[in-house]
Symmetry: C2
DNA sequence: CGCAGAATTGATACATCTCAAGCTGGGTGG
DNA sequence: CCACCCAGCTTGAGATGTATCAATTCTGCG
């Protein structure tokens, strides 16, 4: 079933894990009933391309579980990630025919999909969805702008530290981590994906991670498992204002 | 009056130059009447800071005329522009207390302002505004993502060509330019502002502009007046797919 | 166990930054 | 009316951070 991406199960909205954060989070029960009727799930396997840039895109979706990336690819192969989709994030743009970027599953991923036409109809008739989508889009725009600072002005070391801080912070807010500045998480990205995120080569990513490890800013087991002994220290390495509460 | 930014005149919405493109573009007459009652104008002079990052921001606004920039500044002075506000663009974020970036007037500029509270009320009660703001925010997000590709993966020469193409295209769509691939416009930014836009130093900007001039891709009179003899050629220099219709 | 993808490490090349010196044009005051 | 001034810009020479090319070495998994 992985090839078609069609999933067998149909979870009720009321027991959906992203119920309180996704584009539907402000919906009343009657609105959820409508969504429940028209939604459908699709699963993708790691590495699988969900949408190709330029392809017609006849659906929009929420990420239920898993991770996906949005990226531009230039003709000569240079690639820049421009979005990272985590659970509850929204994929697709109402009022647009074709996808502007490649969307690729980084992990096993499940999407909650709506055909574009019906969703656009809902958007017009359901203020709670329109307002939530506006809020989510504004948040994404903020994230994109912080990302632009990283891409345009930070050194390779600061870029790596920034990415680790972003991932660590998100994990902390999800997993109710220890509040004592210690932080443990798994990287959801390969070195190459990190390079695409940060506008670096994978070699430079590797070197800078090694350097941060040498300097005691982080510890690593295996390739993915990261321990940050002192989050504040990591923040200092990002070049940002050192305000640094875990949930910022 | 430039110091307070308060403008003397009060233009009726129905005869406003950005009537058909701004956040209010989908409003009916009765909705415009409401806006007309609560809006107020503010003027700023070139170089004047409209909002400082971190300051409380008690208003939102549409740019009526002129140009402003949004930018992050790091503690050590590194600066990255993250937004360029042109006429009809929207400034401010409903539901946020403090400004995340500096907003600086690049030219003489006039804003059509609304106090934040009343505007948020309107947003809740007026779907036409909410929907238009969503659409505009999605457009900005797309622009931010294209910008991320420029920042992360393009060479200095490609960055300059991309910026010239962006400015040229916009001017072409406004001024109904000659359709024969020739293009003439004025740069709205200094070399330093271009550098902040592109994540370069101003020296590199200057060198690359000189190089493009040497290679016949552009001609320059004075410091700002640019002629592009062959727009397609410029597009080839951006590194993007060479689709290149003027209005893309 | 062994293999393939992922990651590390090294040597070198090169694009862009940095520091420094001069140029240019428009505005101002003597 | 001219000389000066200064912000904005250009150009040069050298330093430096990151990319590139090229081996190895890990790590997780069948």
């Amino acid at each position: 079933m992985a090839d078609t991406g069609l999933a067998e199960v149909h979870v009720k909205c009321s027991s959906c894990p992203i119920r309180h954060r996704a584009v539907c989070s402000r919906c009343e029960q009657d609105e959820l009933d409508v969504l429940d009727r028209i939604k459908y799930y699709r699963d993708f396997t790691p590495g699988q391309t969900i949408v190709w840039a330029g392809d017609e895109m006849d659906f929009v979706a929420s990420v239920v579980t898993g991770i996906a990336t949005l990226s531009h690819t230039m003709e000569d192969g240079r690639r820049q990630m421009v979005g990272l989709l985590l659970p509850s994030d929204f994929l697709g743009r109402p009022g647009r025919e074709t996808a502007p970027y490649d969307v690729v599953a980084t992990s096993k991923i499940t999407l909650c999909c709506f055909r574009k036409g019906p969703f656009e109809e809902l958007l017009r008739s359901t203020p709670s969805i329109n307002q939530r989508l506006l809020e989510m889009t504004l948040d994404e725009l903020d994230a994109a702008r912080e990302w632009m600072l990283i891409l345009g002005r930070k050194t390779a070391r600061e870029k790596i530290a920034s990415l680790l801080a972003i991932i660590g912070r998100r994990d902390a807010s999800l997993n109710m981590s220890t509040a004592d500045g210690r932080l443990v998480f798994d990287l959801p990205l390969t070195r190459e994906a990190m390079a695409d995120y940060l506008g670096l080569t994978l070699e430079t990513v590797s070197r800078q991670i090694s350097a941060l490890k040498r300097d005691g800013v982080i510890q690593i087991e295996g390739n993915r498992h990261v321990t940050v002994p002192d989050f504040q220290r990591l923040i200092e390495e990002t070049g940002d204002d050192t305000d640094g509460g875990l949930i910022a």
